[in-house]
């Protein structure tokens, strides 16, 4: 167990990333949180301003192994070795497979699956040295129920679950756990194209009759990154209000 947890969260400018960063910072007064961002950084910047001495912006190109290596090196020189990685960044670019371009396929696979591979690979070295680490991969309900129009996204996220289980087995004896969460729909992060009728219909079909609040997902990520979650690894947790 490291003296303090150093947590890197990718996609930290998104609803879930920002909420997860705040969750860690509020509940662990010792931790340092590194907010991985690309061009958009207004929400992450607000977190840094609120927790200036423990939150840091981290420009990161998640599809570039070099960028990962540099980020992990910078964290080490600024604060110490990375101990928690939350692979949260990703996006979807939906189309029916018959109409999906090769670019749509490759882009979604690159950002949602290949990036997780690069991130895990970069994070392993400092975690092995510490003989302690927590990797939490944010997958999606789409990995489990593969909706029409999301062949690329569903394949990528299902790949993340496979990667999670394999790496969990490889890293288990080094004190490193690797888990995934599969959130359903999250308030504030609903698909951009949905109109009010679609939102109402999906909410009606969700047994809990509401979408997840981002902090409800963040709470599970927080637990998986904790000391207490020491025997839980290779798991994929479905957080969907019983939708599936």
């Amino acid at each position: 167990m490291p003296d303090i947890r150093r947590i890197l969260i990718t996609g930290a400018n998104g609803v879930l990333g920002e909420s997860t960063a705040r969750y860690f910072l509020e509940r662990d007064p010792e931790c340092h949180v590194f907010l991985g961002v690309r061009e958009r950084r207004d929400k992450a910047q607000a977190v840094v301003e609120a927790y200036g001495d423990r939150a840091f912006l981290c420009p990161l190109e998640i599809t570039s192994p070099d960028s990962w290596a540099e980020t992990v090196r910078q964290i080490e020189s600024l604060s110490g070795p990375l101990s928690v990685l939350v692979n949260n960044a990703g996006f979807h670019d939906d189309a029916l497979l018959a109409n999906m371009s090769a670019g749509q396929w490759a882009g979604v696979l690159d950002a949602n699956l290949n990036a997780v591979f690069h991130g895990c690979q970069a994070a392993l070295q400092p975690m092995i040295r510490q003989r302690w680490g927590r990797i939490v991969n944010i997958a999606s309900l789409s990995a489990l129920h593969s909706p029409a129009g999301q062949a690329n996204y569903a394949a990528a996220k299902a790949g993340v679950l496979g990667l999670t289980q394999s790496l969990a087995k490889e890293a288990a004896r080094m004190g490193i756990t690797v888990n995934a969460v599969c959130p359903g729909h999250i308030e504030g992060a609903l698909p951009a194209g949905w109109d009010d009728e679609q939102i109402k219909a999906v909410r009606r079909n969700t047994p809990m009759r509401r979408f997840a609040r981002p902090e409800e997902i963040a709470a599970v990520v927080f637990f998986l990154a904790s000391v207490e979650a020491s025997y839980m690894t290779g798991a994929s947790l479905k957080l969907d209000g019983a939708l599936v």
């Binding site: 070295q125 092995i128 040295r129 003989r131 004896r173 080094m174």
Partner: protein
Amino acid sequence: MNLRQRIKEVMASELMLEVSVEDIADDSPLFGPNGIGLDSVDALQLVVALEKHFKLKIGDQNKAREILHSVDTIAKAIEEAGLA
């Protein structure tokens, strides 16, 4: 403590070996059925442990195979790098 003994101590503690340090011969293969039976995950840990304890960096995979053959070959690599 001599270098080979230190390497064995590091291996035993970092890899949580079930064999005792005394049972590791300097020239016995570390991997495979005729050796002490390390696997690929142990190899990864060992590379990190050698960097941590002896500052020995092993970047190249083919070179890693040669260096990690036995305690003797690890010691030789550390000595050749001037890190002993």
